[in-house]
């Protein structure tokens, strides 16, 4: 299963996809807020979203899995 990990520590600002949605490479899947900046998290692979592991307001650390793909 492919995973999308957080590249840095921060708080989930928006979740831009739904479970079951097809995403393309480079699509913004989530936006984190960190260091007072909005950090778009882009899909590195194309695929169908299986699970969304973090919700708006959650703290995520670097390396945490944000989204998994089927």
């Amino acid at each position: 299963m492919k995973q999308l990990q957080s590249t840095m520590a921060g708080t989930v600002f928006t979740v831009n996809v739904k479970e079951g949605e097809e995403v393309t490479v480079g699509q913004t899947v989530m936006v984190l807020e960190s260091m007072k900046m909005e950090i778009p998290v882009e899909a590195e692979v194309a695929g169908k979203v299986a699970t969304i592991n973090s919700q708006v307001g959650d703290f995520v650390n670097e390396g945490d899995v944000l989204v998994t793909f089927e």
Binding site: T7, M8, A9, S34, M35, K36, M37, E38, I39, P40, N61, E62, G63
Partner: protein, 521 residues
């Protein structure tokens, strides 16, 4: 200008025939089956690589007959040559992987050492075209531990570092000790799918530590160019690797005593203006590459470590024909925050440019260095110190442009006013502060904010304080205090930079009398 394998014709044909026969064997390289294998891997024969690299494909070769008595080791598996690239003489060592997988015997090593010595004496760049399985174990006593053994190659690389440009083109494996050749070069260009670097092969890793892993995961080109940072430029073919190396060399002088060439101006790329590219909201991301395009001559950007630590951009470019090394925060990646890897990337790039008199341009839009346990445990303080030391010690013309925000030590890392940039320019959108307004108001008034019970009053108070803070860090106030030297309209920035670099072209700062600083990392 150089003749390819010229032989003198005399009446004595027997001698000549013997020589020609020997040469034919040498030029043929290893056995046909190994040539076939190379073709399958989309690899070029070493002499075809050299023909592509050098102007008109011609070169002067030394040690051609090395180990010719052995019969099956043409040139002892390495071609060492001198030739021209863009009209500039360079020295080259190029492994021949059709000969015992490009492994190093005693003569292989001696040839490499000699071509390095030639590069040093003639003060010309040294290129390493690597495709080698590593040491020839059967020859180890003659090539590994001795005074002119493989260690000497690395010792020479260190001596030559910053004296002449050293470039590595990685076409195949660079294993174990051999992996230090790319490590000591200024830049490493890797061919995806074929190039690899590792100290221990996957087979060895499985035997010694029990790890099961593929060669790609262990030391593939993409891994090194995006994760380890050992590779700088990822290409898809050997032809691309060679043309990138030729393009890279055009930014450099032959050695540290010379200055890089200034060429004719090319207009910048047509596109949106900087005013349109840079959002007013300090927290919103934008693509710094698009901004760079508006400042540089079209098509002149040479991206170094594009895939590694993308939150900072490092690349060579030209502004009105003058070469510059650009260090720019990328708000689109990780908010442009500085991490351990970003500090690493920028440090090496600054050292590279400073060594060869390439002026520096810092484009700052940086919220600061990353905080949190992950980065503290990774030593972000000493890595940040390393970056600040490199930037601070650089004596080439150094211009700092505050594009948007420069907060905290981010201002220091991006050649802020205290680090003697030749000029610190702000765009009207610039904000310089210890931290951003939200963080600052929180830090100073958090108790007071919490004590206000009426939510409306609380918001009003916070907004007032934001406003006060923004006034305090107003860019005209900083200019009035002469903290920044100049405020420039974004649309004028390109020509201002070009004029400034021309003005600073005679800059010369003597080095302080000491041996060397004590590097923080």
């Amino acid at each position: 200008m150089y003749a390819k394998g010229a032989t003198r014709v005399t009446e004595n044909t027997t001698y000549n025939e013997q020589l020609e026969e020997k040469l034919e064997k040498i030029f043929a390289g290893g056995q046909p089956k190994y040539h076939e294998k190379m073709k399958e891997q989309n690899k070029l024969f070493v002499r075809d690589r050299l023909a592509l690299l050098f102007d008109e494909g011609s070169y002067l070769e030394d040690g051609r007959f090395a180990n010719c008595e052995a019969n099956d080791l043409p040139a002892d598996g390495v071609v060492t040559a001198m030739g021209k690239v863009n009209g500039q003489t360079v020295c080259v060592m190029a492994n021949d992987s059709t000969v015992k997988a490009g492994s190093w015997g005693s003569r292989t090593v001696e040839k490499i050492i000699r071509i390095q010595e030639i590069a040093e004496k003639n003060r010309v760049p040294m290129l390493y075209l690597v495709d080698s399985a590593g040491a020839r174990i059967t020859d180890q006593l003659d090539m590994f531990p001795n005074r002119r053994g493989a260690g000497k190659i690395f010792h020479n690389q260190v001596r030559l570092s910053g004296f002449i440009p050293q470039i590595c083109l990685l076409f195949g494996p660079s294993a174990a000790g051999g992996a230090y050749i790319p490590a000591f070069c200024d830049i490493v260009i890797m061919v995806e799918g074929n190039a690899s670097m590792y100290l221990g092969s996957p087979r060895m890793a499985e035997k010694v530590i029990g790890e099961k892993v593929s060669l790609e995961e262990m030391g593939g080109a993409r891994m090194h160019c995006s994760i380890s940072g050992c590779g700088d430029v990822l290409v898809t073919s050997e032809e691309d690797a060679i043309s990138e190396a030729r393009r890279y060399l055009a930014y450099f002088p032959a050695n540290f005593t010379e200055k890089p060439k200034v060429i004719e101006t090319i207009a910048s790329k047509e596109g949106r203006s900087l005013e349109a590219i840079i959002p007013e909201n300090q927290n919103a991301p934008f693509d710094m590459y698009e901004a760079i395009d508006q400042l540089i001559d079209e098509g002149s950007f040479f991206d170094v470590k594009k895939l590694f630590a993308p939150e900072i951009i490092t690349g060579l470019a030209r502004i009105e024909g003058q070469p510059v090394g650009i260090i720019a925060n990328q708000p689109k990646a990780k908010g442009g925050v500085l991490f351990v890897d970003s500090a690493d990337k920028a440090t090496k790039f600054i050292n590279l440019c400073d060594a060869f008199s390439i002026p520096l341009l810092f484009l700052a839009d940086v919220p600061g260095f990353m905080i949190g346990t992950k980065v503290e445990r990774a030593g972000i303080i000493r890595h940040g110190a390393k970056l600040i030391m490199a930037m601070s010690s650089a004596t080439v013309p150094k211009i700092s442009v505050i594009v948007r925000k420069a907060y905290g030590a981010g201002l220091y890392a991006m050649a802020g006013p205290a680090f003697e940039p030749d000029v610190c320019i702000a765009l009207p959108t610039a904000q310089i502060a210890v931290m951003g307004p939200e963080a600052a108001v929180n830090a100073v008034y958090s108790n007071k904010i919490e004590a206000i019970e009426d939510p409306k009053e609380r918001i009003k108070f916070v907004q007032e304080k934001h406003h006060e803070y923004k006034e305090e860090i107003n860019i005209y106030k900083l200019a009035s205090e002469m903290i920044i030297d100049e405020i420039v309209k974004p649309s004028d920035l390109r020509s201002v930079l070009a004029d400034r670099y021309r003005a600073y072209s005679t800059k010369d700062i003597p080095q302080p009398p000491r041996k060397h600083p004590v590097y923080p990392v």
